[in-house]
């Protein structure tokens, strides 16, 4: 592979207490591409995703290496807050804060101590444009984010994540709570975002993976079964389990 690698996972094991949920996963996520992680419920794909920016810290024991710019971020002395600013996350449900649209977008920036009004204004516009929400909300930036529709709220959450300028965006089933129109808007957004960001997305929706992802990883029962270009995984899977899952024999 000549692809540039944004994040490399090596021998990742995750356990909740005594229960092992992810075993021996090794993966290289290509930079500025969309990688979809698919698999049945309980296959461990969300757990892997949440381990990538240490969101599992309090819940699970994560062992193995997660290399980011040649540095293993899965070490106790790593500043997880800095990690999460570099590797942002968007969740299943839209999670706007009960503030104005504007304040939501710059939340992370304010936190980092940015005060310059011009910088903030500019970043709000830029992030909302990137999340394809600017045209819909540019006249109501001071209004509550809670008044937006579910799809708009989710794009707002994407904008909020973009505003801190992460390198990688993790998405945990970002459209599972949305209607088909909002879903396709978000998918279009993702395709534009990959020019600048690396996107790693967990999805239950096979069409979504085949439509938007460049790479697909199939997980089953805590193990990585197959990883490759999306077209190859869907058209010509190398493993029987992958073929069975894609044809709906289980899942």
């Amino acid at each position: 592979m000549t692809e540039q690698i944004a994040l490399e996972v090596k021998d990742l094991h995750v356990a909740y207490g005594d229960k092992r949920v992810v075993q021996d996963v090794s993966l290289k996520f290509p930079a500025r591409q969309i990688t979809a992680m698919i698999g049945a419920s309980g296959s461990g794909k969300s757990t892997v995703l949440r381990s990538l920016n240490r969101m599992n810290d309090d819940l699970a024991t994560v062992t193995g290496m997660i290399n980011f710019h040649g540095f293993n971020i899965n070490q106790p002395n790593v500043n997880v807050y800095r990690v999460r600013q570099q590797i942002g996350m968007v969740f299943q449900q839209p999670t706007p804060f009960p503030l104005s649209i504007y304040e939501n977008v710059i939340y992370g920036l304010r936190l980092a101590g940015e005060r310059d009004r011009q910088v903030l204004d500019q970043r709000v516009e830029e992030s909302l444009r990137q999340a394809a929400l600017w045209d819909e909300v540019k006249d109501q930036l001071k209004e509550s984010a809670l008044a937006l529709s579910g799809g708009q709220q989710q794009r707002l959450c994407i904008a909020r994540t973009l505003a801190v300028r992460p390198e990688i965006i993790l998405m945990d089933e970002p459209t599972s709570a949305l209607d088909p129109v909002s879903t396709s808007q978000i998918e279009d957004t993702l395709v534009q975002l990959k020019e600048q960001f690396t996107i790693i997305m967990v999805t239950h929706n096979m069409q979504q993976a085949s439509r938007s992802a460049d790479w697909t990883a199939f997980m089953h029962q805590g193990r990585l079964v197959e990883f490759g270009p999306t077209s190859q995984i869907f058209m010509n899977p190398q493993e029987e389990q992958t073929a069975d899952y894609l044809s709906g024999k289980f899942g």
Binding site: N53, M55, Y81, R82, V83, R84, Q85, G88, M89, V90, F91, Q93, T95, F97, P98, Y107, G108, L111, S144, L146, C157, R160, T161, V164
Partner: protein
Amino acid sequence: MRAEKVDKIATAVVLSLAGLVGLLIISFLGYLLVVGLPNVSWHFLFSPAESFKSGGGIRDQLFNSLYLVVLTMLVSVPLALCAAIYLSEYAPQNRLTATLRLAIEVLSSLPSVVIGLFGYLVFVLQFGLDFSLLAGALALTILNLPLLTRSCEDALQQVPQLQRQAGLGLGMSKWRVTTKIVLPAALSGIITGAILSAGRIFGEAAALIYTAGQSSPAISYTDWNPFSPTSFLNPLRPAETLAVHIWKVNSEGLVPDARAVSNGSAAVLIITILAFNLLARLVGYLIKRRLAK
């Protein structure tokens, strides 16, 4: 057919029992107000109590009750809030925190008379606070802490887990998430809980008889120096509260109009507690509305 009949009977039984409870409470409240309100006048509210003559008021007792609530809240809200934040946001699920929760549970069902005697032994005698507002406030804090901690914890738990995750996902520290996201969202519930608990301790008597005392020495409302023994603000003066006053007038009152005084006091007490409850709702509603804007 049979299931339908059973359903009808069950509904009728539940409804009539609920009605009975409602009727009991309303007639009790109604009785208190009907018998008590005619004794309440501006004179009654704003003149000091008499020891032997009739025509005394409840000015000092009413003020003492309110002041004691303020003092108690000053001590108990920060403690309860910190405990609730720990339990809700930080506490791991282990035997130690389970024990802690059990202790809070047990403390919440401790009879207030026991708390009063404990306060007498520890605050009044051991700490040398004598019968004082401060000793009373500390006793009421013990009474108040478990329920207030619980209501604060509930308010914090009401904040969706996703909001916390969203904050963490942006790179916020746990403390930041707690103070910037969870606390503001839980504020309405916390304040409502605090005001409701204020109403509860406002009517407390048993825990105060041996801590805040049963006497009301003459106090001056123009003396703003809290260290002066006659100042109304002095937390170290003994202070009979309204609820204690009702108990005392009834049990050993020497005034000829003891009945009228205690009936009037009871009505004032009930109305004040009602006001606390309405205030709690109003504040909760206003904060929610401001957040939704």
